[in-house]
Subunit: 96 residues, 2 copies
């Protein structure tokens, strides 16, 4: 299933910056970065549970937030992109 993950991490402190890096690192392992804090991840239910668990262990729930959007099978028709593309990620899938 395609899961869109967006996050806001409060980076006003050093520990916040560290959380941001850790969240991004986990997301990079599971999907394609499409904007700075937005990832599209094609996951099976086990992978989703695993990633969710990892992310929720990293964030500070009083300061940071995560949103998951389940885009379904028809996800390619649900997305429109305008403007600059993020850099090519050699470990990711090619963006079209």
């Amino acid at each position: 299933m395609m899961v869109l993950i967006t996050y806001d991490v409060n980076v006003t402190t050093v520990t916040g910056k560290s959380r941001l890096r850790k969240v991004a690192k986990q997301c990079v392992n599971y999907g394609q970065r499409v904007q700075n804090s937005v990832f599209e991840c094609l996951l099976d239910p086990t992978q989703f549970t695993e990633l969710k668990h990892r992310l929720e262990k990293i964030i500070n729930p009083e300061k940071d937030s995560l949103r998951y959007y389940f885009l379904g099978n028809n996800w390619k028709n649900r997305v429109e992109h305008v403007g600059a593309k993020v850099g090519y990620d050699p470990e990711g899938v090619l963006m079209v």
Copy 2:
């Protein structure tokens, strides 16, 4: 229709910061901010065309990006939130 709008604006310059403010201002007029650069907007097709046109006039397409996700009628079942909520927006709808 529910349209999720995410944006990345390159704020390394003064003009970039100005573009970011303008993009956010337009989105605030049309929807609910759910994260710093993520808005959920309940729009009819005319409003969507109008907002899209406004946003695409503001951004620099070589440096910034916009993504639109069409979440469909079943959108409430497609969203999961974890952690901090954004502040209450008196002009928006109550977040649940």
